[in-house]
Symmetry: C2
Subunit: 337 residues, 2 copies
DNA sequence: AGAAGCTGTCGAAGCGCTTCGACGCCCTAT
DNA sequence: ATAGGGCGTCGAAGCGCTTCGACAGCTTCT
């Protein structure tokens, strides 16, 4: 293992000079800098992370806490994680992967040990038990998701309320008057993750404003659950012509069942989904959808965090504006005979 | 921040004693141990990770390199990552998340800086450029996947050859004589990730042994690609009654298209998939499938690695035996008129 | 009884880096 | 000519921990 001292000796300078070349915290003459850089390259020197962390009390690591459970769209989680990792690297940070499993203890452990300089939390619940810990420490953190009380916290999330409103507006513009919302699995609502409720709130509010009828049904993914749900929906609201789906594992079953029932999309029934782009474009009918901006969320989270670590940056709630892309699954409401 | 020294003072012992209580590397009297543990608890002490790493040259961190691209089995990747993280924690290790993006440089950086004690690499290509680096360092590593040359390496993977054989056998047992394989996207084969080729090899070899006809068609996911592929397949091999699918984004399109063409599953056509359990059970027809044991792979990888870090453990290729679960998508071949 | 061996504890020496103050040098302003 | 001020470099003091050797007080063997 090559050390700073060896590099210094090889370059004929003192260790501190090498350190300053590396950090750029003091000015170094061009000749010296070049000589040092040459030695670094030649010897294949890599600063020791532990020593660096000890001396500077900065680990250059950001902890990312991902949910353990897999009942919700996993690829989105993955995409966020990858976006976080790549963005972090561009700022010189590495990512420490924590699973939700450990809960608040993980927060304590990481904060206490100086393992990471900052944290990003995903899958935040409305009244998350990790929040008091975050408020009680001076370690910067960013949440992906929105808890009930955001005072003293920095959050990044899609504006789900606006998303709901947007979906309703789109269907209303097309003349639909009876709209059914196929929501997430009941477990998601019970867990109070917030985003499902916020979407629903946006849907309901805008529907009321526009004078539409709205029916909401949570739904597990899969064909059987969807079939059962759909039967009850048409039973209860036979005039339903518009669907908003916020459960990607219900999307394909819904389309298949509608087809099976002889209801054409979009001629008889329009479907708008809140889902990742990939799901929308790979479905059997290309879906009009509001995308989940996973990459953007990950990137923004890291950038908020880096700003905090650099001293600027403040507690702020960043709500990304939803964008609705019209594809083949939505069209004018059928003319009522 | 609480330090070892403060704990020592609080407990009335020397710093080294506290350290030995923590590590258990020397025997400590019960009374002293208890007193120290009490102080640790009371002061809320957490050992500083950097200092520890510096002094012991052990970071207790395992680097996990995940692929950046998202054209394959993302949920499987995620499940592996989560399994790695949770298993690692039970052994006292944390996970550093690296994306494939940085490539060999990341390996150099992590090895050189002592950031991690060991590495797990996912998405290994047959002739991966990271392999020489791994062989050239004394840092333990485990690959998830199988390169062409495994000398000096430890690998964990599903036995894809046996998987292919198993699928063919199942269909042969049911009397199918004409089998078509819907493979991964062409890009996957071009990238030489190995698993697709190995599956195909297993399929072909066993088919030959059993005297079956086998047609292989790579296929992008999605409906359009699948429709085109399927048309050509029935054109070329109208007697096809068995399908093996190794591309989870082709599964649902295939089922829908068969239905549309009036071919009943499993009465007219049997389908066997190589895919995650979730896909198999949530499809419109519950699929007979060989599962991708993501969790098991992650777990085994960590355990191999920990064994190496502890001194026992050796270079070894662990191939997990495939298991075929019969569900509703496969049945006896239709009787030829 | 004395040697030999345990057990439990301590002190001190680093691990490789950052950072602070000091200092020599040269340039500029008086 | 001389004081003042940058600039570029160095030496040394830690950061908080692990670990090695030392050693005091016992027990056990011959």
């Amino acid at each position: 293992m090559v050390t700073l001292a060896e590099v210094a000796q090889h370059a004929g300078v003192s260790a501190s000079t090498v350190s300053y070349v590396l950090s750029g915290k003091r000015s170094i003459s061009t000749t010296t800098r070049r000589r040092v850089e040459e030695s670094i390259r030649k010897l294949g020197y890599h600063p020791n992370a532990g020593a660096r962390a000890l001396a500077s009390s900065r680990s250059n690591i950001i902890a990312l806490m991902i949910p353990l459970r897999t009942d919700m769209y996993v690829p989105v989680m993955m995409e966020i994680a990858v976006a976080v990792a790549t963005t972090a690297r561009t700022h010189g940070y590495d990512i420490l992967l924590l699973t939700g499993e450990e809960g608040p203890d993980a927060v304590r452990r990481v904060t206490g040990s100086g393992l990471a300089d900052a944290m990003i939390l995903m899958d935040v619940e409305l009244d998350d038990e990790r929040l008091p810990l975050l408020r009680g420490t001076d370690q910067p953190s960013v949440l992906i998701g929105l808890p009930a009380d955001t005072t003293g916290l920095t959050c990044v999330d899609l504006d789900f309320r606006a998303t709901g409103a947007l979906c309703v507006e789109h269907l209303a513009d097309l003349g639909h008057r009876d709209i059914t919302v196929i929501g997430e699995a009941p477990a998601v609502y019970e867990r109070h993750t917030g985003f499902a409720e916020r979407t629903l709130d946006g849907l309901r509010t805008r529907a009321r404003e526009l004078g539409l009828r709205l029916l909401h049904r949570p739904c597990e993914g899969g064909y059987d659950a969807m079939a059962a749900t759909l039967a009850r929906v048409f039973d209860e609201r036979p005039d339903t012509t518009g669907f908003v789906v916020q459960n990607e594992s219900a999307v394909e079953p819904l389309l298949a069942l509608l087809r099976q029932q002889g209801r054409a999309v979009p001629e008889d029934v329009s479907v708008v989904a809140v889902c990742p782009e990939q799901v929308a474009t790979q479905a059997s009918v290309r879906l009009t959808s509001v995308a989940l901006p996973a990459h953007e969320m990950g990137r923004r989270a890291v950038e908020q965090l880096v700003a905090k670590l650099d001293g600027h940056g403040s507690d702020e709630v960043v709500l990304l504006a939803p964008e609705l892309t019209v594809r083949a699954s939505s069209g004018p409401a059928p003319v009522r005979p």
